[in-house]
Assembly symmetry: C2
Homo-oligomer: 160 residues x 2
DNA sequence: TTCTAAATTGGAATCCTTCTAAAAAGTGTG
DNA sequence: CACACTTTTTAGAAGGATTCCAATTTAGAA
């Protein structure tokens, strides 16, 4: 549950001797309880009432910290700006190339990939990230595409 | 071979009724023959002698076009700026978290992922991208990390 | 060759992100 | 509890990547 993940993540900060400030707790709580893949701006605005003096720089700093710790991951969806996602459980993302929507898919089973990559590249592998692209159900309807029509179209022109 | 991939990619432009301009041909040729995952700036400077009046905007426009067509893919390596890679053969990338180096790994075998993601998300899936992170062999030496030492370190503090 | 839509150019403008210096707030010690 | 020290936050400036724009040029078709 959410509370567990929060305390676990806060413990992670303590383990690394990183100060647990109100800003960090509140940003972390936001991320644990919202799975909308927020941008920096979204987080900043959402927390305006809780932390009226919160600085954008702090949001940036905090997110970078969380990403370095592996608590949070970064994603791009074609919009300007980076989006963030609490990474409590391994999952990957499917991104809509039309509207930018990001959907979680919990079905990793990519465990072998890291070992294989390490073997082939000589890298000391620490993590991986997988992104799948396509059209979300809503956009399929909006654009009136059927699976076959879409496949035909993709073969002839590019998406604007 | 490279020449084949170039003509094939140019044919792709024609099929989509996209004009084959000198700028596009030259940028495409650069990408087909260089596998250094160049940034926009790298491409711009490399082509300065061939196309003295080339505009940065054209490089941006052209790369976006190629990405939309699926000829080229975008990657980030932690540096500022986006890097590009001709996608003649399916492969994925291993990125060094210390120096930003990007290494190709040709061993997809992720074919099932798209179908699975489509099934679980309802998206009409068109492509996917996989990135693996770690420390490249050079940085392992430079930093004097052994596999076990590194794993221990990763458990205790974050990378700066 | 001529015509038209598409592409390119170069510079301004925009927007995301980082930097900086000063103030504020944790943490440990005596 | 006060002190000293370090980390963190803040606000705004600065930086840098990318996009936008109007004017010019060009590719490709008729």
């Amino acid at each position: 549950m959410a509370a567990d993940m929060l305390t676990q993540a806060i413990q992670e900060l303590k383990d690394h001797k990183i100060r647990v400030t109100p800003q960090r707790q509140i940003i972390l709580t936001y991320l644990v309880t919202h799975h909308n893949h927020p941008s920096v701006e979204t987080i900043y605005q959402a927390l305006d009432t809780q932390l009226p003096n919160l600085s954008l720089a702090t949001v940036y700093n905090t997110l970078k910290l969380f990403v370095d710790l592996g608590i949070v991951i970064e994603l791009q969806n074609g919009d300007a700006g980076t989006h963030y996602d609490f990474f409590g459980r391994p999952h990957y993302h499917v991104v809509c190339e039309n509207c930018g929507k990001i959907t979680d898919v919990f079905e990793p089973d990519l465990s072998g990939v890291e070992a294989k990559a390490a073997e082939l590249s000589g890298y000391l592998v620490t993590s991986h990230n997988m992104e799948v692209y396509g059209l979300c159900p809503d956009c399929q309807k909006k654009l009136g595409v059927t699976r076959t029509a879409e496949l035909r179209r993709l073969n002839l022109s590019h998406v604007d």
